[in-house]
Symmetry: C2
């Protein structure tokens, strides 16, 4: 079926999937000033849209693969008075996920306002059969200087990205954060944002709208295996505000019980007093039908809790445990995912609300 | 890019998009006993997966088009002790929406349990490049008789649907509802379920898990224009518990102010005391940037409120007004959609929670 045969868009033009900027737009690269690209720990050195260094340890390269190019957590920030804003993107691949719309996997989200209150503006609309798109995020906005934040694709890489503003529009650097400290997350497909409807709804990105700090999301779908090489690499990121370890959901339970203490040991060698928050996994809806899932979750949570308690007793007062099984609520937790495991926007909102207080407490 | 090149599924097998039933499965048609198909007002007479009669008034046919085949609100109910459950579907078209995953547009959701507590079990996984799929919803369930509810695709029609159970499994009719009265909704793309991540998360379908009544969703994306022919047709549905009119979001504001009183008049002629709930539209996130959206929303809500008040003063004690602008909350209502207008699962959950008390009050 060709795109033009789409019955829904024939009846509802608002549901169409593309829009084009008008001609008198300046196309600018966020690689240049005054744009600020955050959420990519090696961006300042390498100027690459990538979550890990370009050259990786071989073992790590195999584990994370292309996921290092996926831009979960990356943001572009700037101030402008442009009445319109457009975006042009060349993706590394096409939308290809059954549980996640193209907007969440490959789209860009736009918010207006500073970190005390960022307002949702728009998500890119595009023909998701293509790997390149151009989309108008807004137009006819009253001409006052505002901070714009763009959230980049959660499960896709980009080769090129251009930002279109009206000719003659003013541009300046965004306001600074509260400090140059960064919140670091290490996790799995869930923490990477599977399956949010749009990039800004991955839970670390929701948190970013309540925390005036840079958040760096080092979560790799299916590859949150916590090799010592990963812990070593994350240890090289300067000025950590905290490290959140939320990778129980992937991989083998026995392997997890080996990698978690190893990961903490490696990280502690480099950062003796940085707060570490160990988050156990969500309740899967499957556990209502198969008690084996409950047992595994409870055992793994107990293991993590005990490990953190032991480390605290041994003198590490900067490590904490969070029981992730409470995050989706106790009444209708089974409604929060699209496959029994990966949260929807509903699940991610609950995760962010549930974690916010704890993260503020250990970071501030 | 071929499906096998999908990098995400290479690294995370749990994110793969297909599964096949084993061989010793009986494939049964829900068109036969003991299956119950609900949510399709003309199903009993016509045995068609369709939300409107096969033959339509010409004006209505043009307005609703293929949307009448989309199965938003349709459910298949039965009881079984089968340890596994599979489904095989031939869709009328492929997944083709940028803001909505294939699961929400074309998938099937499975819940286990009776209306006092239905537990989410699974959503069909399939290769969304295809228009036919077979998917295992569960297997290895302990063999007790349970009520199964399947929610059908929100924005797609089906030509064929087969349910696969283990050979020798018992099947029986589902428990009856509290009465044979039906909750009727007339609405737009939002009420049809754009853009839920899976069928059961459209707000009328969420409500169905808290209300032991059949719900019939007559919402047609882009076509909620409320022609008198539509009102006439809906009047022919017997045993209405209430009629919810939630179609302000589509169409022209001036047209709406003509069609709404006409629709009510037509419906009242046939159903003088059936509760009617008029729901004004959600807050769009656009209104934070353009006050014209606020004015229009407030004017339309005032119109609806005034109309309902006048009708009540004239003696109709069975018509009510609900201010839909409160449904997404006052703090972060802008976070609840994927395009500023159509709710995600987060928005739909808030809509269902916000409306439940009122609907119970006017129906019970």
């Amino acid at each position: 079926m060709s795109r033009s045969d789409n019955d829904i868009t024939r009846y509802d033009p608002a549901m169409k999937g593309s829009s084009r900027a008008h001609d008198d737009v300046d196309w600018l690269s966020p690689l240049e000033e005054p744009f600020q690209v955050i959420g990519l720990a090696w961006f300042t050195e390498e100027r690459q849209y990538r979550r890990l260094p370009v050259v990786l340890d071989k073992k790590l390269e195999e584990a994370v693969g292309d996921s290092a190019n996926h831009l979960s957590g990356a943001q572009i920030r700037f101030r402008t008075d442009s009445a319109s804003l457009s975006i042009r993107v060349r993706l590394k691949g096409k939308a290809d996920m059954v549980y996640m719309p193209a907007t969440g996997q490959c789209g860009v989200d736009c918010y207006i306002g500073d970190v005390d209150r960022m307002w949702y503006m728009a998500t890119t609309k595009y023909d998701w059969m293509q790997s390149e798109y151009e989309s108008v995020l807004y137009q006819n906005r009253p001409s006052s200087m505002e901070t714009v934040t763009l959230y980049l694709p959660l499960f896709q890489g980009i080769d090129e990205l251009w930002i279109g503003v009206d000719q003659g529009a003013s541009l300046s650097a965004p306001p600074p954060f509260a400090s140059n400290q960064k919140i670091l997350l290490y996790g799995t497909s869930i923490t990477q944002g599977g399956y949010a409807s749009r990039p800004a709804m991955a839970y670390p990105n929701i948190l970013s709208r309540s925390m005036p700090l840079e958040i760096i999301n080092l979560s790799f779908a299916g590859s949150g295996r916590a090799a010592p090489e990963a812990a070593q690499l994350i240890s090289t990121i300067s000025c950590p505000a905290c490290l959140i370890l939320d990778y129980e959901a992937d991989g083998d339970p026995e392997e997890f019980q080996i990698t978690l203490p190893e990961f903490i040991t490696v990280y502690r060698t480099a950062h003796p007093v940085t707060p570490i928050l160990v988050v156990s996994r969500l309740r899967y809806s499957l556990e209502t039908h198969d008690p084996a899932w409950i047992r595994e979750r409870e055992e793994q949570a107990a293991f993590q809790h005990k490990l953190v308690r032991r480390l605290r007793e041994e003198g590490d007062r900067h490590i904490f445990f969070f029981d992730g099984s409470i995050l989706l609520g106790s009444v209708d937790y089974d409604e929060c995912t699209v496959d029994g495991k990966h949260p929807t926007d509903l699940g991610f909102q609950r995760m962010a609300e549930g974690l916010l207080g704890t993260i503020r407490t250990i970071v501030w």
